[in-house]
Structure formats: C-alpha cells, structure tokens
Point group: D3
Amino acid sequence: MVGEQPAKQDAPPAVMALSLPRAELSEAMQAYFAKCEEKLGYVPNVLAAYSHDDAKLQAFATFYNDLMLAPSGLSKLEREMIAVAVSSVNRCYYCLTAHGQAVRQLSGDPVLGEMMVMNYRAAQLSARHRAMLDFSVKLTEEPHRIEEEDRQALRNAGFGERDIWDIGAVAAFYNMSNRIASAVDMRPNPEYHGASR
Amino acid sequence: MVGEQPAKQDAPPAVMALSLPRAELSEAMQAYFAKCEEKLGYVPNVLAAYSHDDAKLQAFATFYNDLMLAPSGLSKLEREMIAVAVSSVNRCYYCLTAHGQAVRQLSGDPVLGEMMVMNYRAAQLSARHRAMLDFSVKLTEEPHRIEEEDRQALRNAGFGERDIWDIGAVAAFYNMSNRIASAVDMRPNPEYHGASR
Amino acid sequence: MVGEQPAKQDAPPAVMALSLPRAELSEAMQAYFAKCEEKLGYVPNVLAAYSHDDAKLQAFATFYNDLMLAPSGLSKLEREMIAVAVSSVNRCYYCLTAHGQAVRQLSGDPVLGEMMVMNYRAAQLSARHRAMLDFSVKLTEEPHRIEEEDRQALRNAGFGERDIWDIGAVAAFYNMSNRIASAVDMRPNPEYHGASR
Amino acid sequence: MVGEQPAKQDAPPAVMALSLPRAELSEAMQAYFAKCEEKLGYVPNVLAAYSHDDAKLQAFATFYNDLMLAPSGLSKLEREMIAVAVSSVNRCYYCLTAHGQAVRQLSGDPVLGEMMVMNYRAAQLSARHRAMLDFSVKLTEEPHRIEEEDRQALRNAGFGERDIWDIGAVAAFYNMSNRIASAVDMRPNPEYHGASR
Amino acid sequence: MVGEQPAKQDAPPAVMALSLPRAELSEAMQAYFAKCEEKLGYVPNVLAAYSHDDAKLQAFATFYNDLMLAPSGLSKLEREMIAVAVSSVNRCYYCLTAHGQAVRQLSGDPVLGEMMVMNYRAAQLSARHRAMLDFSVKLTEEPHRIEEEDRQALRNAGFGERDIWDIGAVAAFYNMSNRIASAVDMRPNPEYHGASR
Amino acid sequence: MVGEQPAKQDAPPAVMALSLPRAELSEAMQAYFAKCEEKLGYVPNVLAAYSHDDAKLQAFATFYNDLMLAPSGLSKLEREMIAVAVSSVNRCYYCLTAHGQAVRQLSGDPVLGEMMVMNYRAAQLSARHRAMLDFSVKLTEEPHRIEEEDRQALRNAGFGERDIWDIGAVAAFYNMSNRIASAVDMRPNPEYHGASR
C-alpha cells in the first residue's frame, strides 16, 4: 500500500553506530556465521557487531547459546518471553525486534509476541508464566528490592532451585544485552519485522 | 508454523473487562457503526466499549474524529505517530495495537510503526518529527515541567501556534485514551495485528 | 494586609501562551458562553482557550458536560474529587485551581478541597472515596499496572460496573485536560482563588 | 453555601497520630507558647506536637527561629516560598497549609501562595526567585545530583556564598520538617485555611 | 600497596564548596570544639562548615546532640543505622562516610556498616531493625505515602509511641543533613575512612 | 573495639540463597579455582555460585576475563570504576563489596573506592573519567535515552570507537552481574571488606 509521504529518514547505520572494522575471524566463528546463514538466511546483527573482536564474539556466542539453548527447566519459548518482557522495560529496539520475532515463531502465536513487547500484563498468562515474568521485570526495574519472598513466589509457582537460577540468569542477561545494543545503537536485521506474523 | 506448546490462556474478555450491556444506539451511531463495518470490516472495539451509553459514544466519536481527521497542520500520519509514542510511554496494549497499525498503514513503512511502539528515539526522524515527539513524550511523562522553552522548540522546528495546540491536544488525548483502555482492560480487534506488515 | 515587596512578575498571559484568534462562534456556543456569564459571572478560561476553533470547542464542551454533569452513580462532588486528586499528581495549576474550587463549593468543606490539592491521603475519607481515589491515582501514575484486582477493589467498595467506567473515564479525562492546560500554559480565571473559602 | 453530603469523616487526630502526653514545659517554652497565643491567637500544632519533650521542643524552636527569622540575604517571604515549593514536592499537608498561608500573608498575593503549593513553575517569577526555587527543588528531588554548576547558577542569579548556604539550609530543613509531619500525621491548625485569602 | 596511576584529582575543597569565613565562636562553641579535638582527635567537618555563624552552629549542635545522644528507646547504634540507611537513599557522600564509621564502631561489626551503606536489605536484620529501617526508607523515598498502617507496623515490631517519634525524627533529620551536605559539597574528615574496619 | 549489642543476625547463606549442589568441574575449571586459591587465597563466591554447572561457569569466567582483563584502551582500574559506579545505581551488595575492593587496590586510593560506592559525583575526577562514568550511569538508569550525542561526549573526552564499545560492554555487564547477584542473594567473600583500606 502506498502511504503518505513517509517520515524523512537519513540512511540508518548498517549494524551499529560505532566504526569498528571486522576482525579476522577464527575458524569456529566462521563456521558459526556460515551456520547462521544456512539456517536463518542471515547473520544476526548482534554477532556482526561483535565481530570486530574474535575473542569477544566467541565469548558472547558461547555464553548466549548456553543460556538460551542448553537444557533447562525453562522452555526456549519461556526464555524468549523473559527476553522480551525485560527488553520492553528497557525499551530496547534491537532486542524487542529480534526476540519479539522469536516469541512469535516459537509460540505460533503472533499476538503473544506483541503483548510481550507492549505490556506483558495484558496477556492471559498461566500462573507459572506470570510469576516468571513478574520476577524478571522486578529484577529489571528494582534489583535491590529482590528478596527471599520473591524467590519463594517462584517456588510456589512450581519452579525449582535451578529454574530460579535460569530465570534470574536470562532476565539479567537481557539487562546486559539491551544496554550493549543501546550503547552502540545496534540495528536489527530487517528480516525480523515481517517474520512469523 | 506450528510452535511449542503455547502459553496457556483463559478466554480473554471479548471487548473489555466490564459487564455493560449495549445501549439502544441512536440512528447517527448506528450509521457510524455501519460505516465502520463497510470501510474497515469491523467496528473498532473502543467504539463497542463505549456503546453502553449512546451519549458518551457520540461525544467520544465526535471528539476523536475532529482530533484525528479534521484539517490540521499535522498530517494524519503525524497524529498517529504521536498517538503511538504516547501510548508507548503508558504501555497501553489497546492503543499500541490499533494505532501502531495506523502508522504502518499511513506511512507504508511497517518498521516506522514498530519503532514508534518500541522506542521512537530509535527512528531516524526529521527534526520536525523529533521535536513533535519529544514534546509529546515530555507532556506525557512530566506535564508539570512543560514550559515556554518547550513550546519555543516546536516553533523553532517550524510549527505554528495552531500546530502546537494540535500536538498538545493529540498527545493529551492519548493520555486519556490509554487510561480508559487500561481502566477497563479494553481488547483490540484481532484484525490489527497482521495488517500492514 | 500589606505584604513585603511581592515577587516581581511580568504580565501573565491572558488565557494561554499560544496566540490564536477567536473563531466565529456558532450560535450554540455563543449561547453556551452567555449562559456561563449569567450563571458564573465569567466564561471559564478553558472554554476561552478552545474558542479558536468552534468545532473543537463544541466537541470539548459536549464531552465535558456529559462526563461531569450527566446522571451517574458518582455524585458531582465525587467526580470533582477525582479531578483534583488526578490534577495533583500531574501538578496542573489550571485544573487544581478551577476544580479545587468546585470541591470546596460542592462539599461546603474548604478543607476537603485543600486536601485533594495537597495530598488526598491526608483526608479522613470513607472506604468508598478512598478506593475511588486510589484507583484514579494509580491509573494516573502507572496505568500499565491496572489489573483486574484494581477493578475488584472498586467492586468491593460498592461500585458497580458502570461506576467503574465512570471513575476510569473521569480520571482519564483529567489526564488529558491537565496536559492540554500544561501544553498551552492555560491560566485559571482569577475568580476561583477566593471563592468558597 | 450548603453543599452536597460532604465526604464522611471520622474525627481527625487533634494534633498528630501518636499518643504522647505533654511534658512539663520549661519557663522559656511556656513563655514562647504564650507569645504565640498572643500574636497568632493559637500555638502552631508543630510546637504542640513537639511539646511531649521540652528539650526537643526547645531545640526545634531555636533551630527554626534562627532559620526563618534571623537576618539573611533572603527575605522572610523568600524563605517561605522555598518552604512551600519543597513541601509541594513532598506533598506534605501540614507544611503546605501552614507555610502556604505564610506566603499569602507575607506577599499580600494569595495567588502566589497557591502557585507555590500547586506548581511553582506556573508563577511568573523573577530570575532570582526562579533560580532559588529550581535549586531548592532539585536539592529535594535529587540531592545526589547537586554539583558546582548548580551553586554557580545561584551565583549567576546574584546570590552570595552565605545566601547559598541559607537557600540550602531552608530547603533542607523542610525536607526534615515535611517528613516529621508525615511520620506522625501532623494536623495543621484550622486557622491557616481561610487566612490571607 | 602501590596502585595504578590513580585518577587525576584537583585539590578537593577543604571543608565545603562555599567560601565562608569562620565567625567569632562563643565560649560554649569553643569548648565544644575543644572537646571534639580531645575525644575524637578532630572537629567533624559538619561543625566546621557551620562555624561561619555561631548561632546556627549552636542551634545545629544542640539539635543534633539531643537527637542522637539523648535517652531514647532507640540505642545509639539504631539511630546511626537509620542515619546510614537514609543517607544511602540520598547517596550523601559526607553522611555515609561519617555515620558508616559510627555504625562500624558502635556495632563492632564492620560488615554491618557496609551493608547499611550499600543496601540495608542485604543484612540479616531482626524484625525490629527491619521494621525500623523500612519505615525510615519509605519516609525518605515517599513521605506522602506514609499512613497509619506504617506506624502500626512499627508498633507490631514492638516500638512504642515515643519510639515512633524518634525513628521519624532521626530519619527526617538525615533527610535534612544529607541535603545540607549536598548543597555545599561538604567533605568528610579523612579519619573516618579507615576507622573501625 | 567491643561494640554495643550488635544487630541480631541469623546465619547468612554461605554463598547464595539457592540450594544447588556443586557440579563435577572440568579440569580447566578445577585449575582456574586452584589459581584463584593460590593468587587470592580464596575462590570468589560468584564463581562458587556458578559452579553448579560447569558449562555456565566456564562461559561466565571466559566472558568475564576477556571483559575485565584483556587488552583495552581502558585500564583495569577504569573498568573497575565503571563496575562500582554501575553497581551503586543498582545497589548490589555483592558487586559493591568485591569491586569496591578492586578499585581500592588498583588505585591505591581507598577513598576513591568509597566514592565510587557512595556517589561517583563526589569524586574530583578527570574529564575523561567523568565522561566515562556519566555514560555508564546513564546507560544503567535510562538505556533507552542513550543517543549519538552521548557517544559523541565520549569521543570529545578522548575515547575512540573501540573504547566506547568497551565502556558500554563493561557497564552493561555489571547490569547483568548485579542482577544475577540480587536474584540469588549472592554473598561476597569476607576477605573483601577489610582489604586495601
């Protein structure tokens, strides 16, 4: 559909606002990028942003893949729901775009993805998911007020000790990731926007 | 795509969380609803929510249509951009969904709609649009701090006296509308989510 | 009483900070202004501010009069109490002045008006009024956190479904009205200050 | 004027919410109370509240009288303007009532008193007064962000080193006083409300 | 231990950022300073800062000594714990340094002092101390929300009416003191840092 | 020094509040722990907390060591200053204790460590360090408001593109680390408190 005169836009930064040349990548990272291209059709820009330093890229990728993909009492969808609810508090354009898409895809429910982006309280969540996101958002907004009763609320919702670690770790990670993205004005790959709608 | 087990959801409220029977609608309002059905394919749920009282419905519709559709120095897209940036501050699920779709449609730029929902500062905006949204968001977040220098910043960006009224009026309106929607848990029509992607 | 040298003041703006000539008013609006003059002795400045555009003035007046004067489970005083408690959060000089006077007049209790302006929690309110104002203030401060339990608290205090709509609608309206007043630096009529003391 | 049914109110606490018997007052304090009765017609309730302990009462009265009445580059009105602007941030019912009256009386300008209570930014202040209140309010809201440039802004507005001390000391004092009043729910004498209108 | 090149630092202000010559001190104040030198080895800089005006110094010292040293249901350590927890909210460098040392000294527990500075919620406190600090911190952060139920929580933790006054008075005082220190950039005596570790 | 009766304390959690048995550690991690014991005399509790899962421990240690120890335009002290200033905003007891000690040790300036814990604005910092910490704290408090002008302020203070990445990455990391510590109530090793005073 042809719209009104769209908002005038300068060319946006390709991947981020910092001018950092790509480093010589290790074989492991070259293989990882190739696998991304093969499975997704593109290398996520967060990896491209980190590719100015092979050691940092590898450390980030290892940390990220363990966190989001390793066996856990939390499903991959649950971890992505936390990612988006945290990123909503921090209003991180990159992470909301990339992980909002992941929630849409993993749940098969595009509206759920939108709700996580806009206000997770609008969703009709199970008690488990509500407790998980309430903890994650409180940890984001006022970490110094998290106390034993907050952990107990997770236990009451059925989470075990390791699950509580994982909820905290995922919520904490996106508080890092949101801020790296904001610090360097990271730009999401355009493929995310239309996918899984 | 078939996803993981989606989040368990109770049946969401049809239009809002209050049980209010539909009033006998006036001819004018019946005609208005019919026109919505014809042009959009549905009656926006905000109108359905107001239809428990014909006088309130009519007052709201008149006020809204003047604000968003009457001649103005602000284009319809600009008014919708304000609507979404304000609704993002207030994290209003209804308005972000409905007016996010309007920005996507009017601009022909789905990414612009996403940016307004997530963080308008991520968009590469013209100086005019940036000033317009900065004023609207400050008016939303800390209205008691708006002073002459804020109005002057709009004049410096090329806006006239009447334009300043209109910017203030639209931003103020969504501060009302967001809160009516939140007060009654208004639910957006499902058509918005996938449209204009 | 003769005071110290008062604070040096430039001539304040007559009605608002925007220079907008008065429009040709419709007969209906002329009659409305005449009625204000007759009953109050003046035209409230909010109406004068809107009179640069007859359609906007009429839409505003209709919306306002339905909201504040139409039959409702909320008394006129209750609606004014909400207006002032909301305006206190937003620190709106115009609305606190005008509606603070209305609370003083309708209640016959000047101290109640002052408490609504300063901190409604200082008043010895009935459970009904406390619940009504707690909801209104939460809706003002953090609309995205209003949930079913907030509506239930109103039901527990004796409010019905339509009453909840009306509380939400009045609180939401003053979140608009406060911001229009702040956007254009609207000035209250001087008559309010000394009245009903 | 006879109003609507006023808000139902339980008997408010006479002076404060704590049950503390009056101490045997020293001669100096008895004389001070007598002087209050003679000059004002009543003993301010803050003094009555402190009168459970003669040493505390005397320390408070001495501290207060030096602060608000001793020679200073700030006029008494200016000190009262700071008191009210600070109390407005902290929404202290007692101090807004008592010191709002003082601003009305000392300035001979009831509207100025109202503006200090509601939002000092609404007043057409001299550069001197605006700088004085901006510093006081920033010191109230975010004391940890006060830096040399804030003191320099006062110097630029014509204040000397001792004046800066006095502005800081008065603003700081009402941050104490507001909180004592809130801690014990101190009630202002009814005489303040109607005086100097 | 020899460190890296330390952060380059200009000479810090000796006692505070204002240039105010010391006043002729009264005999009482000279004796007080002599006693400080004798007992502590130094005059606390807050007293040095006040010494530009003998009346203010005397009023402050009297007020302070009554508050912190007079008989009370609160131990001296408890009063210092409140001082530090409040100063932590206000991020006051002077008071955290001076009163953090006092908590370390009076408790004989350096870690308790650190916890009060950093986040009192991290300490394993008795119910009495937790209630005392929760009230003090709420009174600091949002005094306008203190209500009867907050006082009742103190009574439930075993505090009497006078204890509640004292908790409120100490917490309120440091809200003043923190702001005087911030207003004039008061510098703590260097002796505090290493003491009682 | 023998103090007053210290605050009653229950036995604190050894390392964290979650009951998670230590995993079988890999040789690499066993060697890493041995090296800690040898060089520091203890294994930092953050590593002990992660040791319930060897893969997570290794990912964290690798990520951390690259961030804080790898070559960078930022000195190790500068990275620790960021760690503490960020942890101060988030009021993280663990990180303030551990990294406050690191600032004291690396700078040889115990007071600098205290200032970073209490309020970095109290330190007399070089323009470079002030810009570095202002960016880090803004990124912590309101990441969604970081824009190009914030990065430019770093460039103006002499930082290069890679330095900006590193400042953002360190500040972001402690926003994660603070929240993991808060989520699980991580307890610092007691050795930190008295060291480098």
